[in-house]
């Protein structure tokens, strides 16, 4: 009886500790400035197709301080790798040295996949995401909506909760989203450190829905 009570107490204690850490990690994100220490390692979730094109447009403008760059693509994606290599090679001409790597993980959700099987395949993707993120230890994760973001962001969050490294989660909603947030966006909004949308109509309707003030720590741009 005492052992059982002890076990229950331990589980409750660990859960409590977990949530306190989660709260601290999410709340202190805006104050964390990895740029002060030098270069920023970025994990870029390229996902597939249109998402890759869009995220590369954002990468185009980031300075050489964002080095090295680790790209993650879905293992069923054929086009993205080529796009990324073309992009990085053109960048190489302007920078003295370019450092990037490409990693593949299983897709967490194919288009039109049912919700139940999505949960299973997301857990499967998490199995690959955790070791990858723990090994790379990026300063920030940049993503813009493919389902693959979720396991990678969760892995980044876990690094922070365990106190191993604070990983900033930067989410940019796709330009396709004019009126409503994507499911990925809705899931990642509470845990992301910086959250961007590209249409003012979405900003207005969304912040009403979330009940938050857009000017605090989450930001939008056009």
């Amino acid at each position: 009886m005492v052992v059982l009570l002890g076990a229950v107490f331990a589980v409750v204690f660990i859960c409590l500790l977990f949530f306190i850490r989660l709260y601290i990690v999410v709340k202190t994100g805006a104050k964390y400035k990895p740029g002060n220490k030098g270069q920023i390692a970025v994990l870029v979730v390229a996902g597939s197709g249109g998402h890759t094109t869009e995220v590369l447009r954002l990468m185009e403008c980031l300075s050489a301080a964002y080095t090295p760059r680790h790209y993650v693509i879905a293992d069923t994606d054929r086009m993205s790798e080529e796009k990324i290599c073309t992009f990085e090679n053109s960048k190489q001409c302007s920078d003295s040295e370019s450092q990037f790597t490409i990693h593949r993980i299983p897709r967490s959700r194919e288009v039109h996949q049912s919700w139940n099987s999505s949960v299973v395949s997301t857990l499967n993707a998490l199995r690959y995401s955790l070791p990858l993120v723990f090994r790379l230890r990026p300063d920030m994760v940049l993503c813009n909506g493919p389902g693959t973001c979720i396991p990678l962001c969760v892995a980044g969050l876990l690094l922070g909760i365990l106190g191993m490294k604070k990983v900033l989660l930067v989410y940019v909603e796709s330009i396709c989203r004019v009126q409503t947030l994507s499911l990925t966006g809705k899931i990642l909004y509470p845990i992301s450190d910086y959250f961007f949308v590209q249409w003012s109509s979405l900003r207005d309707s969304f912040f009403k829905y979330a009940g938050k003030d857009g000017s605090t720590c989450k930001n939008t741009f056009l």
Binding site: G35, N36, R57, C61, V170, C176, F221
Partner: protein
């Protein structure tokens, strides 16, 4: 030579290809089709009233877009943004057989802001006949530099 470029991206949209090749040309002399995964790949001689070229995929369709006087596209975000980025008049044909397509949201908004024309296969011919391309507003590209500036400041990059 006045050219129309039709693109369906990586999708298949036979109904659109069928419609643009079957009707009269409305003053255009050359028709270039990118048919993607569609089952129709019209041959050069399948269309007598207009000079026709058709292909499935190319590494880059930028050159085709540059040469076109009008671009007819499916509602895919990538195709729409590329056409508008090329500064060409754009007519988006919505595939109404595809339900719950979130990409429509972007095309509809760009239509509301007068950056493109918008129709379905059944209204395509009528739209081509009555459209006023001069009413279209140019679409200014986004400014990812703003994102970079914000991030630099937020992350303390000097």
């Amino acid at each position: 030579m006045k050219t129309v470029f039709v693109t369906v991206g990586t999708t298949k949209f036979d109904e659109l290809i069928e419609n643009v090749t079957s009707k009269e040309a409305h003053g255009y002399e050359r028709l270039v089709l990118q048919v993607g995964r569609g089952s129709l790949l019209p041959t050069v001689d399948s269309c007598l009233h207009i000079r026709l070229e058709a292909f499935r995929f190319k590494d880059s369709i930028a050159e085709d877009m540059k040469q076109a006087d009008l671009i007819i596209s499916h509602a895919g975000a990538g195709s729409c943004l590329e056409a508008l980025g090329a500064g060409k008049p754009l007519l988006v044909v919505v595939n109404d057989k595809l339900m719950d397509n979130h990409q429509l949201e972007l095309a509809a908004q760009l239509h509301m802001d007068s950056h493109l024309l918008y129709c379905t296969c059944s209204t395509l011919i009528q739209t081509l006949r009555s459209m006023d391309l001069s009413a279209l507003q140019p679409f200014l590209p986004g400014q990812p530099r703003k994102f970079a500036t914000f991030l630099d400041k937020a992350l303390g990059v000097r």
